[in-house]
Symmetry: C2
Subunit: 184 residues, 2 copies
DNA sequence: GGAGACATGTAAGTGGTTACATGATTCC
DNA sequence: GGAATCATGTAACCACTTACATGTCTCC
C-alpha cells in the first residue's frame, strides 16, 4: 500500500528511472523502507496506468534506453492526501525471524545462541558505521535535488536508525552478560 | 515462511486450537511476530495436509466444537531443522509507514509533525506499560505449559522490546526538542 | 438488547520474493 | 576473463490483509 506513496514522494522531488528509484530506496531510505527491483517496476506500471505518473524514453547510444518517470498533478494530489492521513496505529507489523529463533532458544545449545548474538552485534555495528557515514551535506548539495525531502526530517529518520542500532547492540551485550552469570 | 515455524514452535510446547494460537500470538509474542486469524487457519490446514501436525475434534455441548492440533514427530524434526538454521542476514525487512510520512514531513505544517510525535510517544508509552506488566512467573506457572519456551529466552525478547520502546520514546522527545530550537 | 468472548472458516485482492532473461560498458 | 554497473522487464509463487459468514454464551 505504501510503496506506491514512497515512489510518488521521491518523484515529487525529481524525475527518476526505475533503476534510480531502486538506488534511492537502497541508499537513502533503506533504514525505513525496503523494496525489491521487480516490485518497483511493477508499481511504476500500475501508477502509469492510473495516470499518477507518466514517462518519456531517453535514448542512449551506448547504454540501454532510459525510461524517465514524472509525477502528474493528479499524482501530487494523491500523494499529499496520503501524507496528511497518518495511520491510527503508528507501529508497523512485526516479523522478526531472528527473534523467533531466539524465543525457542532452549532447544539449542547455549553455544549457538552466544555465537548468533555475536554475529548480531557484528552486523548491527557494520550497519551503524554505514548510517554514521551518511553525508547529508553531500546529499543535499546534489544540484538536481529540489530539497522536498527536507534535510531536517531526513536527519530525524537517520537519528532514529542510529539510536535503535545502538540499543540493539546494548541489548545483545546484555544478553551475553546474562548468559555468563546465571550458570544453570 | 516463518509463520509456519512459529506455529510449530508453539505446538511443540503444547496442543492448541487455532483460536488459542491466535491468542498466543497476540498476547505472548506480538512484540516479535504478528499473525492474523485467517493466516493462522490457512497455515494450519497446510501443515495438516503435509502431516506436520494432526487434529482431533473435541465436542463441547454449549460452545462451538474445538479442533485441537498436535505436532507430529515429522513436524518436530522440521521445526528443529529450521531452528538450527539461523538466517544469514539477521535484520528483517523494514516497512514503516509512520517513518515514511516523517521523511516527507516538509510538505506538512510543523504543527502536524509535532502532534504526530506526541501521539507516537503516547502509543509507545502505552505499549511499554503493557510489556512491563507481563507476568512471566504466572505465564510459566501455567500447569499445561511444558516450558519448552524457556523463561530466559522469553525474558530476552521482552527485554529487547522494552529497551527498543524506551529508545523510541527518547528519539521522539529529541525530535520535539530539535523542532523547538532551530526556529527556521 | 447489545457487546464481547469463544470458535470456526472462506474469498478476493494486494503485496512481496525469487528466479529468469537480455545486453553493453568499464574496471581489475 | 570475470565482476560490477547501467538499464529494463516477466513469470510464478508465496504471504498477508480485509471483509464476509455463522452461531452460542455470558455479562452488563
Amino acid at each position: 500500500m505504501s510503496l506506491k506513496f514512497g515512489i510518488l514522494g521521491l518523484l515529487s522531488d525529481k524525475d527518476l528511472t526505475g533503476y534510480a528509484l531502486k538506488k534511492e530506496f537502497d541508499q537513502s531510505i533503506s533504514h525505513l523502507w525496503t523494496a525489491s527491483q521487480s516490485q518497483i517496476y511493477r508499481e511504476l506500471n500500475t501508477l502509469e496506468k492510473n495516470e499518477l505518473i507518466f514517462s518519456r524514453i531517453e535514448e542512449q547510444p551506448d547504454r540501454p534506453d532510459k525510461k524517465i518517470y514524472t509525477i502528474t498533478p493528479v499524482g501530487r494530489t494523491a500523494f499529499q492526501e496520503w501524507l496528511e492521513a497518518f495511520p491510527e496505529n503508528l507501529s508497523s507489523a512485526k516479523r522478526d525471524t531472528f527473534m523467533l529463533h531466539m524465543l525457542f532458544g532452549s532447544a539449542l545449545p547455549e553455544e549457538t545462541i552466544r555465537y548468533q548474538l555475536h554475529r548480531f552485534i557484528e552486523q548491527k555495528k557494520a550497519y551503524l558505521k554505514l548510517i554514521e557515514g551518511v553525508d547529508l551535506e553531500a546529499y543535499y548539495n546534489d544540484a538536481s535535488r529540489k530539497e522536498l525531502l527536507d534535510k531536517r526530517y531526513m536527519r530525524f529518520t537517520l537519528k532514529r536508525a542510529l539510536m535503535s542500532l545502538e540499543t540493539l547492540i546494548e541489548w545483545a551485550e546484555w544478553c551475553l552478560e546474562e548468559m555468563k552469570e546465571d550458570v544453570k
